[in-house]
């Protein structure tokens, strides 16, 4: 474990060496941003709307007492969506979509000697392959999660309108009242950390692939599993530290 941790840290250090030429790296960053951001928008949008709707329906189901105002449903949905559902579930889905793609892409480049070809040319292969992915991850995952929060709250509104367990007016009143800004800060910190975890761990797994296509698949699986575990661990640590 310590061997892997040390190798991971050394790989990250290599990844952020001075680039050979900024313009070439900039193009790669843009390409990765499109791949991570635009490429994941659809799946994130779909799960966000459903998460928000389900969170609203289940909260309304549990708060049946006449002593509790119905606006509480909106407040609980908002806080749980911003604090937990959007960042964590979106990150877990992104680990599957983006993480497996990164690990298998870099892993395939390793087993087909494309990484060796980069090194022979004198290119810092970790820098060229990994740093653009990490930069794309820490910039685009937060944007995706902010969009996910918005769509999750819209999902809750649609659930209210459709089920009539809670009136849309009560839901909106709950969403807009008594807002503590710290939850947005926590959400953004989580998003940045999760973006880093997904891209760096999966890139690490891909970069040290050896063998053939079977091992590429195993690297992708390992990358997704380790990313998911680390996302949940980081979720716990960040929540404990910031709340």
């Amino acid at each position: 474990m310590f061997y892997s941790l040390g190798r991971y840290i050394l790989l990250l250090r290599l990844s952020f060496r001075k680039p050979e030429k900024f313009s070439v790296y900039w193009d790669e960053v843009m390409r990765e941003m499109v791949s991570v951001g635009i490429g994941s928008l659809g799946i994130v949008a779909i799960i966000s709307v459903f998460i928000g709707a389900v969170a609203t329906i289940q909260t309304a189901f549990q708060l049946v007492s006449d002593l509790i105002p119905k606006t509480v449903v909106g407040k609980i949905t908002r806080d749980s969506t911003i604090l937990e559902f959007s960042p964590t579930i979106s990150a877990l889905v992104l680990a599957g979509r983006v993480g497996s793609s990164i690990a298998s892409q870099i892993g395939t480049m390793r087993v087909t000697e494309q990484i060796d070809a980069l090194e022979i040319m004198g290119v810092n292969a970790p820098g060229y392959l990994i740093s653009p992915k990490i930069i794309a991850g820490v910039t685009m995952v937060p944007l995706l999660i902010i969009i996910s929060v918005g769509l999750g709250l819209c999902g809750g509104y649609i659930a209210c309108a459709a089920s009539r367990d809670v009136s849309t007016a009560d839901y909106i009143a709950g969403l807009t009242g008594d807002f503590n800004q710290i939850i947005m800060v926590v959400c953004c910190v989580k998003a940045i950390v999760f973006g880093f975890i997904i891209t760096s761990i999966c890139a690490y797994q891909g970069f040290y692939t050896s063998g053939g296509s079977l091992e590429v698949g195993q690297s992708a699986t390992r990358g997704v599993v380790f990313s998911c575990v680390m996302i949940l661990f980081a979720d716990l640590v960040i929540s404990k530290m910031l709340l």
């Binding site: 070439v24 000697e113 090194e119």
Partner: protein, 250 residues
């Protein structure tokens, strides 16, 4: 000139190279031959720095490459071109982008100059007009030729070729051999070729090193190979009936 001095390389307890020394001259096709698992590719990877030798030195024009750090190696690496066994073309790039890639990173050439260079390299390997194709659209022989075009795009001083004929039909294999030979002559590169193809050995082997079980057993030219009395080399070269019959006729 490249010199290899007393190179040892182990992977765990498995000692693959056991003290190999050799020198590779400019303007010559230097072939490293041997059976599978003899350490040919490991030696090549130690020379180009993809593997760090357990001990020993690699000198490029008397500069100790082995003791250099990553940054120190970059000026030498810019003078290296390499053709990999599976060509190792970048899948996400077109043929033209593959050739231009090192130029983008390490030169200040204008876009037009880079395109001219790419076209020149493609013409050199008889693949003019394939600029916009992706590697997945090319045959094995074409991929090798694009690999050569990419390797020569930076006008290298040292050219390394790993199993250039593996997976190719005899006609294409000879074409690739002739191409490497032409490039070596024209650019006076120090060319190091790892192969176990006897056609290459007899056709373009100016200087041949025979490895077996991690040791160097023989060194000489393709003219000398047929008359050697080295048992290990004879067992390798004349393993087939065809080659034994050919030797008897010589």
């Amino acid at each position: 000139m490249i010199e290899v001095i007393d190179i040892y390389k182990s992977f765990g307890n498995n000692e693959v190279l056991k003290g190999i020394s050799a020198s590779f001259k400019p303007g010559k096709n230097n072939l490293i031959i041997g059976s599978s698992g003899s350490g040919k590719t490991t030696l090549l990877k130690c020379i180009v720095g993809l593997h760090e030798p357990t001990s020993g030195e690699v000198l490029y024009d008397n500069e100790n490459f082995t003791s250099m750090h990553f940054e120190g190696r970059v000026p030498i690496r810019k003078q290296i071109g390499m053709l990999f066994q599976n060509s190792a073309l970048f899948d996400s790039m077109t043929v033209e982008q593959n050739i231009i890639f090192p130029l983008n990173l390490f030169t200040t050439l204008s876009k037009a100059e880079k395109l001219d260079r790419a076209n020149y390299c493609l013409e050199k390997v008889n693949l003019a007009g394939t600029n916009k194709l992706y590697p997945s659209e090319l045959s094995g022989g074409m991929k090798k030729r694009v690999g050569i075009a990419r390797a020569i795009s930076m006008q290298p001083k040292y050219l390394f070729v790993d199993e250039p004929n593996s997976g190719l039909d005899p006609k294409t294999a000879i074409l690739i051999d002739n191409l490497i030979n032409e490039i070596t002559d024209e650019f006076q590169t120090t060319t190091v070729i790892v192969t176990h193809d006897m056609n290459s050995v007899m056709g373009i082997g100016d200087h041949i090193i025979f490895l077996d079980n991690g040791l160097k057993w023989w060194e000489g030219s393709n003219h000398e190979i047929a008359h050697t009395d080295n048992k290990e080399l004879n067992d390798f070269v004349f393993a087939s009936k065809f080659m034994r019959a050919a030797r008897e006729k010589l």
